[in-house]
Symmetry: C2
Subunit: 373 residues, 2 copies
């Protein structure tokens, strides 16, 4: 099928770029002596997970238990669920653990080891549990210097039906780096904070099987991974306008666009409207702190050439694009197909039921996206 | 099932409020002498459409052809697709028209009547086509004073396989009203601009079968609908924090919340993290222009009491809430269930696969949401 024959709006995935992004990150992490455990929250798609685990362990990170169940049922049975576990999800996690070779959970809460252990014991299951560490992002996790940071691993270790999996962190604050230098400082700190904390625990006779770190910006720019066991970047598989603005990749690495159609044009206001709105693109502002003009996505033609336009505002099924260039405006008739390079590929992908796979200029396949919780 | 037993995050719909909102709007529009053609983009759910068309014609407005197909297959065969039609969707619209008693499309483009007529003639189908009018929102539509505003109805009228359905507008700029007075001025103008334009066309011997207007803020506050045939509000069925802030409703009218669980707490930063993030809530800022502190949703307890907290920031599966009150913070353990009243119910609903129906304090049913395009 030709790209122009797809219904609009729909997701278009450039599979050559996905393969290239996958190969580069796999090689990069391998060369630095760590294992890659990609975060599949970006794509939620089994075929993409297969591409990104080519020639390596089929180990994944997931953001929901629904993703865990979907991937486990399709052969990915070595999973880390990287949102802190809470009691309302114990039963579902325990059921899933029975279907997995290894399902690791994370916690940063003093009370959770005893509560989870009671549930695991009652179910006669043994669960892996990481300590979630805060390396500066301040979203979740305990800071290494706190009492809890020592006490939680001890409680996990002592629990009959838990196994202390190690330390896990995510330097999400890397997304706000102003310079490559700042980004690399955050990347070094993400690594060093965990490696040093692991060493301190080991000196206290607490074995730390795995040191797990990762975000796409930090793993893309960190200078080495000495002492790190596994890296968990996710966005790198598609990249997006935000990552390219931040410097994690080039715009030519970005694999995900939204095909849309011009549905309205207004010469007096030099604007067009497309049928990709807030649902099709998501309302993520992306790199707005670095680029005030980023809007809700860059506008490309069918071949992927940047038209130097932005989706300026969104309503549910409408995207509004200012077109100051009169010659370009004249070409953009109602019905013209455009591709929108979204700000944040993870959120845009999650708005759609499937990827349309673009290869050598043709749509060759359709891959399902597993949404929901 | 008890509310607290639902998986998190998930949508909770207070069906008594839905029924009350439906009845009020139906009665209001009927009393003003117009017909209600509710916009189902807010809910995308057949059961909700049935509630909102109780004791009236089962006529609906839709925002996508996928919605049109879904509802047509379930007995709703009088539909208006209220996004301007473009040539790439002609074939799908014509197929749908065969399954409908009446499928009306809209246009604001001079070239479309001839193009659509050619397609309709080739398919031997007769299509209804509205002129989309701009009454001040400036998103889509032609302004009544322009040459196109006279020429497009004429071209539709002359086309062998089209029928001129009338005039259709949407005062989306009402969402930015600062005062009730301003809102009522916009509502009066939405009505008057179309009624006067219809009169002018009729004087030129162009019959205007239907004058169709509507947005939830304007139809909720307009003083009369003389000369208007149908009203197309949508959001009123659920309302949301934005509409309550704007004055279209009270907070007690808001029917849609997202059930979520506390997954992290940080006493040193007086914050908690819930498992409803950017996907579960959408990143709509809602009424931020009226209420800078609106964040991404208001935080309610399980009974729906407002805790005077806001979801301050979002990542994909995390929502961050500052909790300054130490006594309240102490109650919000990991695992506590909270309900988030989202800023914009249309966008939040579209993030989920189904509604969990809350009635008399219990979850009594689950209703499917038809997403996609």
């Amino acid at each position: 099928m030709n790209l122009a024959e797809l219904p609009t709006p729909s997701l278009v995935l450039d599979v050559a770029r996905v393969r290239r992004n996958a190969a580069r990150m796999s090689e990069r992490v391998k060369n630095m002596g760590a294992r890659l455990r990609p975060h599949i929250k970006t794509h939620k798609c089994v075929q993409v997970a297969r591409l990104q685990t080519t020639a390596q362990a089929a180990a994944l990170t997931v953001s929901t238990l629904a993703e865990a169940a979907w991937f486990a049922a399709r052969g990915f049975t070595d999973l880390t669920y990287a949102v802190p576990i809470e009691p309302g999800k114990f039963a579902a996690a325990i059921e899933l653990a029975r279907d997995c070779e290894r399902l690791a959970l994370i916690t940063d809460e003093l009370e959770i080891p005893a509560q989870l252990n009671a549930a695991a014991r009652a179910a006669n299951v043994r669960l892996e549990l990481f300590l979630k560490v805060d390396c500066g992002y301040h979203r979740c996790g305990v800071e290494p210097h706190t009492k809890e940071a020592r006490e939680i691993p001890r409680r996990i270790q002592e629990a009959s039906h838990l196994r202390f999996a190690g330390l896990l962190t995510h330097a999400g604050h890397s997304y706000h780096s102003r310079t490559l230098d700042e980004l690399q400082r955050i990347a070094a700190h993400e690594r060093d904070a965990l490696v040093e904390f692991a060493a301190a625990l080991r000196r206290e006779n607490i074995p730390v099987p795995i040191v797990s770190i990762g975000s796409t910006p930090t793993i893309s720019t960190v200078e080495h991974l000495a002492g790190v066991d596994e890296a968990r970047p996710g966005n790198y598989i598609f990249f997006d306008a935000f990552q390219a603005t931040l410097g994690s990749c080039s715009f030519e690495d970005c694999a995900l666009t939204v095909l849309s159609a011009v549905v309205h044009r207004d010469a007096s206001r030099s604007k067009i409207v497309i049928d990709a709105g807030a649902i099709a693109l998501s309302k993520d502002r992306g790199a707005v702190e670095f680029d005030e003009t980023c809007g809700y996505g860059r506008v490309l033609d069918l071949d992927g050439n940047d038209l130097a336009l932005r989706v300026g505002s969104l309503s549910q099924e409408h995207g509004i694009i200012e077109v100051a260039d009169a010659a370009l405006f004249a070409q953009l008739k109602v019905g013209t197909r455009l591709r929108i390079l979204a700000n944040h590929s993870c959120l845009t992908a999650a708005q759609h039921p499937h990827y349309n796979i673009l290869e050598d200029g043709r749509i060759v396949d359709r891959w399902q996206i597993q949404r929901g919780w």
